[in-house]
Symmetry: C2
DNA sequence: GTGAAAGCGCTAACAG
DNA sequence: CTGTTAGCGCTTTCAC
């Protein structure tokens, strides 16, 4: 900037005024400054500005895995909203790992971001509290952290899995497998709760071996799915608590030489692209990931009036063809399994 | 920091030394400083440090659409590598839009990032040149920009689509549709070139109506796919130049009441999750997106010795079940189309 | 309308 | 080993 000032033969302040576009500068001076800047390829430094103004125009985004379509859509929403607000986004992938998450929180604090949107692992309450204490607005997406009353953008997880389960129950299924996540994640525990609720409402009991929990990540999901399929007797239908688990379940089903929905019915959370591409397409609870990201970004930069306010966005159940009615096999029982009849 | 110094009863320099972990500080002083910092919830400011040291430890990543699994995987690779190097990543989604890309380049320059990894739209050569001139290493991924000899991480696009096309040709197909991207993207033009090469090598001519170009984004892909399917006679097989186009093609095929591979064979670029989940699974050219991201991030922070060096990563053709042999229908010609026989 | 000067938080060089 | 000081690039009074 100094160089520009010298080249234009003006003071530092004037150059600053030209670039900050405030205060008043005569047209001719402005032109001279701009010419000099152009000539020198000058670009203002966000560091200098940030240091002085105590504003970075940066926000942090902490997701588990950006290659997961759900987070990807969400991130697109955050990015889009950030762009309209002149904000930039530092993205961190925690891998659902608590230590990693804590490190990233520290990083973002040091970066003096003006807000953090995160899918929290469920722990690190102290780190989150610290960020807040240091004046950084935090918005949680998809999940919450025990003991922290932060603004959140959530979906009604319990209702979602309840609807999925009820749908299967209404179809006649009585041996429904549930592929869930670690209970430390509120998302996982709530979805599991919905699964139980649906059973209870129908006066039914959940069969213990029918509930299997893995991590919400690719590495362990397949093994969990296998465990469920190897139960004896095998479930006639299956609820997957998110798209990663659903993907693993479908792969495991195929690897067992089974077909959906002929041999086993299946439904899941998340309307990812492949849910629409497989035949028959998968019945799902669709979460508006992009809008959630947008809402979270908006909330985080315009700190809610006073109270930590939470918003619950609606989900939509999209019925497609991955589940079919099930009837108790005739006593004169035939083949190996069930669910062969269409309605 | 000043507060910490006062609270600990030491000078600024000492506090700095404690946190930068260099110079020597007596154990007792260090302890006192750390206690004071702890007490005050002090966290060093990356802005202050950055301004002084002229290093931000930030890099920029410019992708088209982070919700596209290919970019998502790539981004994961970048993030992972960045983490090991103590770097943080500002992610920008250009939406394949040139003006947007230019803005982001400006932003990243102002942010004083220490490197930019980008999937360039193919234009904005001047902006890229500027970044380089200002001392910011730039690495292009997947594509290049005309007139710019920057380091790149590429795959052999022409070879990939050539193999895909040859495979179809070897299966007997003679009316192969090609769903490609805008020729401004080197990725798109090279893949299209490979399609032509394969035909030429077989002494065949590409049928003009069989080549359709859309953008590499969701909005127009479906319409392009439709155009191809509505050609008369319809292609007996189809090459999609990336996963977005492939997704659109498959959706269009389904919407036409057609099946893969019974009614039409299909192959594509990108081994996305759904390619493995559909039945039969899709034959693809797999690009090692994660590794490409990792390599790009590594390259961008450790500027290649001297020369702009490019690396071409290997692709793998994974043959699955989405294409089948085709034979000319018997002269005593029957129904509407072809490709009904299996080998 | 414009220049000069102070200071944001930090590091590095230099005394002590 | 530690305190002091200057200055990174910018904005923002405050005079003129």
């Amino acid at each position: 900037m100094k160089d520009v000032a010298e080249a234009a033969g003006v003071g530092l302040g004037t150059v600053s005024r030209v670039f900050a576009n405030q205060g008043s500068v005569s047209a001719s001076t402005r032109a001279r400054v701009e010419a000099a800047a152009e000539q020198l390829d000058y670009r203002p430094s966000a560091l200098g500005r940030g240091l002085k103004s105590q504003r970075t125009n940066n926000i942090g985004l902490v997701v588990a895995d950006i290659s997961n379509n759900f987070y990807g859509e969400f991130a697109e929403g955050v990015l889009a909203q950030a762009k309209t607000m002149g904000m930039h986004v530092i993205v961190c992938a925690s891998g659902e790992n608590e230590a990693s998450e804590r490190e990233y929180i520290e990083v973002l604090i040091e970066q003096r971001v003006e807000g953090i949107v995160a899918f929290p692992t469920g722990t690190n309450a102290d780190s989150w509290r610290l960020a807040q204490k240091l004046g950084i607005p935090v918005v949680f997406a998809d999940r919450t952290v025990a003991g922290l009353n932060f603004p959140t953008v959530l979906v009604d997880n319990a209702a979602g899995s309840r609807r999925l389960t009820e749908y299967l129950l209404a179809l006649g299924h009585r041996r429904i497998g549930y592929l869930g996540g670690p209970l430390g994640l509120t998302t996982a525990s709530e979805r599991e709760k919905g699964f139980y609720q649906a059973h209870t409402e129908h006066g039914l009991q959940v069969i213990p071996q029918m509930v299997v929990r893995g991590r919400f990540t690719r590495d362990t999901a397949y093994a969990s799915a296998l465990r469920l399929l190897d139960a004896s007797p095998r479930p006639t239908a299956l609820v997957a608590a998110n798209n990663v688990l659903g993907e693993a379940a479908l792969a495991a089903i195929h690897d067992h030489g089974l077909q959906v929905p002929e041999d086993i019915s299946m439904v899941m959370f998340d309307d990812v692209p492949w849910a629409r591409l497989i035949r028959p397409a998968m019945t799902v609870i669709a979460q508006p990931a992009w809008q959630m990201g947008q809402a979270a970004a908006r909330t985080v930069v315009t700190p809610a009036a006073d109270q930590p306010r939470s918003q619950v966005v609606p989900t939509e159940m999209i019925i497609r063809g991955s589940a079919r009615p099930w009837h108790e096999p005739r006593p004169a029982g035939a083949g190996r399994s069930a669910g062969r009849r269409s309605s």
